[in-house]
Symmetry: C2
DNA sequence: CGGTATCCCATTTGATACTG
DNA sequence: CAGTATCAAATGGGATACCG
């Protein structure tokens, strides 16, 4: 069991839930159109008991929805529900980072094509308010309504751009 | 040992590297300005041997840089290197998803303030080419230069918006 | 085909103790 | 403070066998 004050924020909770050796891969498969149990198992090469666990978890979290199909509806397809579709930005962010730092000399294995405009695209994060690109040193985390007292304390001590190289202390 | 064809893409590689129970939390701490061994240990409540392992891994991956400090430079600070700063979009994406689906009734624990424009912000993903927001059903993954033969095969079979609800098969 | 149950092994975890 | 070493316990993994 971890310390008492972790998981207070959504990063922790989301990482705890999704940050699993297989979960992201299952999700990636889903974004590639995979829907059936055996397709997941074969494409990823994971054993079926684990797949069963993960799928069950993901359904219980509202990330996948089961859709019976086939003769007498005896079988299930796993389709992304809204909570699952909303994971796409996370997958994109992982893809971009991996391409930049892990892809090796051959270059990225996957390129995202934006069918709306026809270009290969490299998604960019902007501020929804002012439409400028998000720069790390222009973002300050502040306590929100759900912040614990501990988190509130910590966050309110942050000065602007806390991560910027500090003077030697 | 997983199947033969997994980890072919950057999502898999990045998830394998970062998708760990503690790694994301350590990174989040770093984005909050934490730099010292004991600060990490205390704020996260993880045991020091594990922290030691993770930090070593993150340094070896170029995510953190060690900066000696203190009397006789005997101690190390862990600062985000460029590869580490570039993880910020992933953390933001996790935060947004977590806030939306896991935060509960109290609301998000962390709000990102864009100091440049002064607003609390909810970062948005847009296409770098046409500047329109990224919609899941307008993105098609295509094989890139580093794609394996297997990945190339699979991706080239994807039709437009593969994840969209299909007709019953 | 679409799972579930069982079993065994490798790894990881966290407590604790120790060192410079 | 900043780690490393050790170790028992829990966990997670895959193989296999089994069921509707």
């Amino acid at each position: 069991m971890p310390g008492e004050q972790d998981l207070e924020d959504s990063v922790g909770a989301a990482a705890e839930l999704l940050g699993d050796r297989w979960t992201f891969l299952i999700l990636r498969e889903a974004f590639f159109g995979t829907r059936r149990f055996n397709e997941f198992a074969q494409n990823l090469g994971l054993s079926r008991n684990i797949l069963s666990n993960r799928l069950k978890m993901l359904v219980s979290q509202g990330i996948f929805e089961q859709h019976p199909y086939g003769p007498s509806k005896a079988r299930n397809e796993y389709r992304l529900a809204q909570a699952g579709r909303d994971i796409f930005p996370i997958v994109v962010a992982l893809l971009q980072w991996g391409d930049k730092y892990l892809a090796g000399s051959r270059g990225p294995s996957i390129v995202l094509k934006h069918t709306r405009c026809g270009n290969d695209t490299d998604p960019l994060l902007i501020c929804r308010a002012c439409h400028e690109p998000i720069e790390l040193d222009e973002i300050l985390p502040t306590p929100g309504p759900g912040a614990s007292e501990w988190a509130r304390q910590r966050l309110s001590q942050l000065t602007d751009s806390a991560f910027v190289e500090p003077a030697e202390r």
